[in-house]
């Protein structure tokens, strides 16, 4: 096709599952995060190797950890849908390499490592929580906007999610069994986070409207009858 200057440019053809790096994030049309996770893991491992051979003083190691690699890995989190296991893997690579370098024993309890200072923790960021908070933050900020392209995209995705679930009510409060009915998506990942941490988010996504009196939605009815995860 022609570019803005009129030159003919070949169009690259990709598979739906193939990710392409856009604005420092590897995104695939089908939403899989394999390439992005691989990229983040290699980045973390590369930093860990350099840290081991660098022999920085403790305070500089801590500063490098918090201000370089952590920020690099945090940057794409608002758009990623990494699983908890993937986030723990990333944290694990950094913690195993950096903890001894800052003078903390490698077997230091991980829960305490991520805990705030007032609870005598090290306040090392947990990427899964960072990602979930970024998602919720984005949802709240964009929820009132009707013109922002991302807000409209989110609204369309939420409406599609409602149709795919076949349930009414607040989107993130529908029965958890509906989770398996959904395709992988940003909103599904957010719902998982919200569910895991017992958060409540209300929305104004319209309900499916009944056709008749005494009408019932099929999915909640099937769930009541005991058809779970089928």
């Amino acid at each position: 096709m022609r570019d803005p200057s009129g030159q003919i440019r070949p169009l690259q053809c990709y598979e739906p599952s193939q990710a392409v790096r856009t604005l420092s994030v590897h995104l695939a049309p089908d939403g899989n995060m394999d390439a992005q996770f691989e990229y983040m893991l290699v980045t973390a491992q590369s930093w860990a190797i350099r840290l081991k051979v660098g022999k920085l003083p403790r305070h500089l190691t801590w500063k490098a950890w918090m201000s370089t690699i952590t920020k690099t890995l945090e940057y794409p989190l608002p758009v990623t849908t990494l699983t908890r296991a993937q986030c723990q893997k990333l944290s694990s690579v950094l913690i195993r390499a950096a903890l001894p370098q800052v003078g903390v024993v490698n077997t230091f309890p991980r829960a305490l490592a991520h805990a705030p200072r007032k609870f005598f923790g090290l306040k090392i960021p947990d990427f899964y929580i960072q990602q979930g908070v970024a998602h919720v933050d984005g949802l709240v900020k964009l929820s009132k906007s009707t013109k922002h392209p991302t807000a409209r995209l989110l609204r369309h995705s939420a409406e599609a999610m409602r149709i795919q679930m076949g349930c009414n009510g607040p989107l993130f409060q529908v029965p958890w069994q509906c989770y398996n009915l959904l395709d992988h998506s940003w909103l599904k990942s957010t719902w998982e986070f919200v569910h895991n941490f017992g958060l409540r988010i209300d929305d104004d996504i319209p309900d499916l409207q009944p056709w008749r009196e005494c009408d019932v939605l099929l999915i909640p009815t099937f769930l009541q009858l005991g058809y779970v995860g089928q």
């Binding site: 599609a160 149709i163 795919q164 076949g166 395709d183 499916l208 409207q209 009944p210 056709w211 008749r212 009196e213 005494c214 009408d215 019932v216 939605l217 099929l218 999915i219 009815t221 099937f222 009858l225 058809y227 089928q230």
Partner: protein, 210 residues
């Protein structure tokens, strides 16, 4: 999986017009998706195992004759239309009284029908099915959401040859006509010759143009 394939969310979407029973074909593996105004995600034909679970779940809602344990009530969405493929009658629910009226069809000499003012429907046939109808100015344009019983169809390269090939005794509803290409040229070609025939998946703009 079967629900998304069939493009239904509510029980009423798979029930007969009288709200008493589930339509038999929705129990079967070969069920054809409903034409819906809602944009459902694309879902391929589910595996046999999924259909077995679907059938088993539906059977919990009705007895062996597909009669619902809890019949459905009046239509709450307005306007609501029903089409009875057996008697070829179309029913419309009045917005004020919520009673059904039969939309009279008047056959013209070339066997196509036009719709005129409604009359009292009386009892709704049990074979009546939910339908999608888009009223135009004149004539009324319709797009039915359910399978209709019609005569055999044929293929034609142009719309005029298609019309000339239809048996003069053809019934007033035509099924399985796939129009490919420019809608407006089809609309001008069909002027005064064809009224309100659609496969139900067209947008209202296309139907009104046609």
């Amino acid at each position: 999986m079967c629900r998304l394939y069939l493009k239904v969310s509510w029980l009423s979407e798979i029930c007969s017009g009288d709200g008493i029973r589930i339509i038999r074909r929705f129990f079967e593996h070969s069920a054809i998706p409903v034409t819906s105004d809602v944009r459902y995600p694309i879902q391929g034909d589910p595996p046999k195992g999924a259909w077995i679970i679907w059938k088993r779940a539906l059977q919990r809602l009705c007895n062996n004759n597909q009669v619902l344990h809890q019949p459905l009530g009046h239509w709450v969405r307005s306007p609501a239309w029903l089409y009875d493929p057996v008697s070829e009658r179309l029913f419309h629910q009045a917005e004020t009284t919520r009673e059904y009226q039969q939309v009279r069809t008047r056959r013209s000499r070339n066997s196509w029908a036009t719709f005129s003012n409604p009359v009292d429907a009386g009892e709704i046939p049990k074979s009546a099915l939910p339908a999608t109808v888009i009223p135009g100015q004149n004539p009324m344009m319709t797009g039915f959401s359910e399978l209709l019983q019609t005569d055999g169809m044929h293929r034609a390269d142009t719309f005029l040859s298609f019309l000339s090939g239809i048996n003069a005794e053809a019934r007033w509803v035509v099924q399985n006509v796939e129009i490919v290409g420019d809608w407006e040229s089809w609309a001008s070609a069909s002027e005064h010759r064809l009224q309100g025939v659609s496969d139900g998946i067209s947008t209202s703009r296309e139907l009104l143009a046609g």
